[in-house]
């Protein structure tokens, strides 16, 4: 264990740690809380819930988002659901099972104590959301309904059609707006954090760009919470929102916060395939579809070719000419294997020539069996003993529509194909990043006073996140972890008084930020930012994507460095500094992605094993399954920014100790 890392995992058995720790955290009295300012960057599930909860406790909160309203943060787009160990289905779920599934799903690269805490507070999240008026799906008895997600054998996922993230975020947003109305939260929409200000070794504020006026503003606080989401847009094409970026986290990294496991990125198996060169983003089709959809490709190469050339339709192929490859390879979990496994299996089939669209990079997700099954169930319920095939399909279609209607509509709008009639075409796409700023058990980074929540931290998902666990983690961090753990730092600040924004540290950070923006404007190059971002994305997708190799990663590093040099020399940004200028904001974000990309490659190169979303071609079994190297790599890679060069980052290791889950080869067979 590096001496610079202290994970601060409390003593005691795994199920006692959080309770005991909560009882020992120093309290800040209500009167003193009013004297303490906290900055929250990002208003997704983690940021909104943290800002609202801290304001309710009495802290003065300033919240920042780059969108025009906190309600638009990208958590809103999460579709499928949120996990909680409620065991409402009486199917054997428990806190321990959720903990175990998450550690196993993460391919044994997460910290046991954090994951167990997540499982412990999961049930309270559902209670909280229902009390806020979040309209989860219910059954006819009026009780909450559940569905299943990949990598588990129980039904513990709560959902609101395919809009669970929207409903949870609007719940957190309404709690936040209630505090804004009370004056407990000051909301700064259309503001972007462009630097962290560190005073005497502590995070004491940020520099934010007002995206409407272009002014650089100084904001001070006693602690800063970064909840700015993940860095999937480093791939250019991802399911993230267009504005999602790594800048807040990356600037914190450059000011001393270690970046953990940057190579752990999640490729989601079910997204709408890429259609053309000018595509700006990819759209996810929720994992919940794998409850009812069966994934397949043609069993014969000629059939796949005929389909690609438009000579054959998928519905023409009989059952024995189809290869339901997930059911074939993983009979125990079938279509509900974890995301990394499903994605690699799709790539394997397509690489072997079985892809089903023009580009050869698509597989089928087929609902016809589910439509017939549900239709038959309806016929039975209605005592229709002689129901015709057409009637059964019609009734079944209605059931599928009630479960996934909005997703099917979204698919049809994008592809112009009706997925009730012909199978969906899907392909893996970048969706989530497990890596992020390193945090201790209190969610504090290596910069004292800088806390990191939600997708922006590395904490709970190891090398692969299970479906419906991102919403759980974001809300756990914001509602039930940070409100307690910030006390560990802020209890020492009750006499500090307001932090002045006239301190030289603020001066310096603002000047540096201004110089950066002026640099982009004065480059007077010939290439728009978008072109650089697209080229970066291609390097990262091809060489740091679903499969990685030593040679590929080394090439990637050289290419990224060359591209970065070209970017600063040749970028073309029109307009000025002190006005609304989205191109300038984008240049600032892409510049940070270019540095992060190199660190990702370095991390992937250093981790000589395959685990979760990180697949090194050199480390696989004969059947193509990932091969971990537990004796050498059972640690968290925490990178320290060194010598002002992302390629010279210093590696610190946090050894992972497994006391409650046995390290075994992950099997879903």
């Amino acid at each position: 264990m590096s001496s610079k890392l202290n994970s601060r995992i409390p003593e005691g058995t795994i199920s006692e740690k959080w309770t005991k720790h909560k009882g020992s955290i120093p309290l800040v009295s209500p009167a003193n809380k009013r004297r303490i300012d906290v900055i929250v960057v990002g208003t997704g599930l983690a940021g909104s819930s943290a800002a609202a909860s801290l304001a309710e406790l009495g802290y003065n909160v300033k919240a920042f988002c780059f969108q025009d309203s906190p309600r638009r943060a990208h958590s809103i787009a999460a579709q499928g659901g949120i996990n909680a160990a409620k065991n409402y289905q009486n199917d054997g779920d428990s806190v321990f099972r959720l903990f175990y599934d998450t550690v196993k799903g993460g391919d044994y690269r997460s910290r046991e104590a954090n994951v167990h805490r997540l499982a412990e507070v999961s049930a309270s999240i559902i209670d909280q959301c229902v009390a806020q008026g979040v309209p989860f799906a219910r059954d006819y008895g009026g009780l909450l309904d559940n569905r299943s997600f990949g990598g588990v054998q129980v039904s513990r996922t709560f959902y609101a059609k395919g809009q669970t993230g929207q409903q949870l975020l609007l719940g957190a947003y309404s709690a936040l707006e209630r505090q804004v109305a009370k004056g407990r939260v000051k909301m700064y929409a259309r503001h972007e954090m462009v630097d962290l200000v560190v005073v005497d070794g502590k995070a004491r504020g940020i520099i934010a760009r007002n995206l409407v006026t272009g002014e650089l503003e100084r904001h001070s606080a006693h602690a800063v919470i970064i909840a700015s989401g993940g860095y999937g847009n480093v791939f250019y094409l991802s399911t993230n929102a267009m504005g999602s970026n790594v800048t807040a986290a990356w600037k914190a990294h450059k000011k001393g916060a270690f970046f953990a496991n940057p190579c752990f990125t999640q490729i989601h198996p079910t997204c709408i395939p890429v259609s053309g060169e000018s595509q700006s983003k990819l759209t996810l089709m929720s994992e919940s579809l794998r409850n009812d959809g069966r994934i397949w490709v043609p069993a014969e190469l000629e059939d796949a070719k005929a389909i690609r050339e438009g000579r054959l339709k998928p519905t023409d192929l009989s059952e024995e000419k189809r290869d339901y490859y997930l059911e074939r390879r993983y009979p125990a979990f079938g279509n509900l294997v974890p995301r990394d496994v499903a994605s690699r299996a799709a790539k394997e089939r397509c690489d072997a020539g079985y892809g089903v669209n023009k580009t050869g990079e698509a597989v089928y997700l087929d609902f016809s069996a589910a439509i017939v099954r549900y239709g038959q169930e309806q016929a039975n319920l209605k005592n229709m003993t002689n129901a015709s095939e057409v009637e059964i399909r019609e009734m079944g279609t209605k059931v599928v529509e009630s479960k996934y209607g909005n997703l099917f509509q979204m698919y049809e709008k994008i592809t112009d194909e009706n997925p009730y009639v012909t199978p969906m075409k899907i392909y893996p796409a970048v969706h989530y990043t497990m890596g992020g700023l390193w945090v201790d058990y209190n969610l504090m980074s290596t910069v004292p006073g800088l806390f990191v929540a939600g997708e922006a931290n590395f904490s709970d998902h190891g090398a692969n996140r299970l479906g419906a666990s991102a919403l759980m983690q974001g809300l756990a961090d914001g509602y039930f972890v940070l409100p307690y753990t910030v006390g560990t730092f802020l209890a020492d600040d009750i006499r500090t008084g307001t932090i002045s924004t006239d301190l030289p540290e603020f001066d310096e950070a603002e000047k540096a930020a201004r110089a950066r923006f002026e640099g982009f404007l004065n480059a007077n190059g010939s290439t728009p930012v978008e072109v650089f971002h697209r080229r970066l994305g291609k390097i990262v997708w091809d060489k740091i994507g679903m499969a990685r190799s030593e040679a590929g990663l080394k090439t990637a590093i050289a290419e990224i460095r060359a591209l970065r040099e070209e970017f600063y020399r040749d970028v073309k940004v029109l307009g000025g500094m002190f006005e609304m200028n989205p191109e300038l904001d984008k240049a600032n974000r892409v510049a940070d992605f270019m540095e992060l990309a190199e660190l990702m490659a370095l991390d992937a190169l250093t981790r000589e094993e395959s685990c979760g979303g990180h697949f090194r071609e050199e480390y696989q079994s004969e059947e193509g399954e990932a091969l971990r190297q537990d004796d050498k790599f059972a640690f968290v890679s925490a990178w320290e920014f060194t010598d002002n060069d992302p390629g010279k980052a210093t590696l610190h290791k946090e050894d992972l100790v497994f006391e409650n889950v046995k390290l075994v080869t992950r099997s879903y067979k």
């Binding site: 025009d68 309209p135 209630r178 039930f480």
Partner: protein, 248 residues
């Protein structure tokens, strides 16, 4: 496809704006409307013209950020979609497309096609919530069963994305559909009953303060709403408002 675009350009809230005409080429029918705008902007930058500013983020129809008035319709000619989900296959080669920002007194233009919709946030601040603090020991989520029909209706109202298409479409620039969706969601749930009267009064009051117009039941909002929010919600809000006024 080659297209002629007439786009509203306005430097900031203070200066007045006007239409500018641009030609855009090499548009594929599979592109989304916003990807067509990306192509235009890349072509403009190459010519040294400042790109057109517009709001957008998730590009999958859920964040509510994109907001263009296209050929006289909020989110363009397709139904049940936001601008980011509108595809160019809905247009023909050689078409002229007029693109404006939302036009409403309560939504001032920020720049070009981007408007300020913070009025919606202030309406939510006035009461669009249930007053419950974060607590680790609330009653179990299944303690109060909720009739499926009510839960589903509350969900349907809650799917509003706050884009403002209803306001942009309404000849009176009324925000009744937006406000009633939130009032309905909470009025349909037992958790929302305690504050129901204050909620509807305060939210309607704030809506009026922001300068939104009145509802004259034309139903245009429902037609243009990308999420299909029903005007039944307006009727429900009116009932809630009347009830609150009588019992006050």
């Amino acid at each position: 496809m080659n297209l002629t675009l007439k786009i509203w350009r306005q430097k900031n809230a203070k200066e007045s704006g006007s239409f500018a005409t641009y030609q855009v080429s090499d548009i594929s029918p599979d592109m989304s409307f916003l990807e067509m705008m990306d192509v235009l902007n890349e072509q403009l930058i190459a010519k040294g013209v400042e790109p057109v500013v517009f709001d957008h983020d998730c590009r999958e129809g859920i964040c509510g950020m994109c907001s263009m008035f296209i050929n006289g319709e909020a989110h363009g000619p397709d139904r049940g979609v936001t601008t980011c989900q509108l595809h160019m296959r809905k247009f023909k080669d050689g078409d002229t497309i007029t693109i404006e920002p939302w036009r409403a007194q309560a939504f001032p233009v920020v720049r070009d096609l981007m408007v300020d919709r913070s009025a919606f946030d202030r309406i939510i601040q006035a009461g669009g919530y249930i007053s419950v603090n974060t607590m680790g020991n609330l009653p179990d989520a299944n303690a109060t069963p909720i009739e499926k029909h009510d839960a589903d209706a509350a969900f349907d109202a809650a799917t509003c994305i706050g884009c403002g298409a209803c306001v942009a479409t309404c000849k009176n620039a009324s925000a009744m559909l937006f406000v009633s969706a939130k009032v309905s969601q909470l009025a349909l749930l037992p958790q929302g009953q305690v504050e129901a009267a204050d909620r509807v009064r305060n939210m309607v009051h704030q809506m009026d303060l922001e300068g939104f117009g009145n509802c004259t039941n034309t139903g245009a909002c429902e037609v243009e709403c990308p999420k299909g929010i029903s005007i039944e919600n307006i009727a429900r809000m009116n009932r809630e408002f009347l009830k609150a006024s009588i019992t006050a």
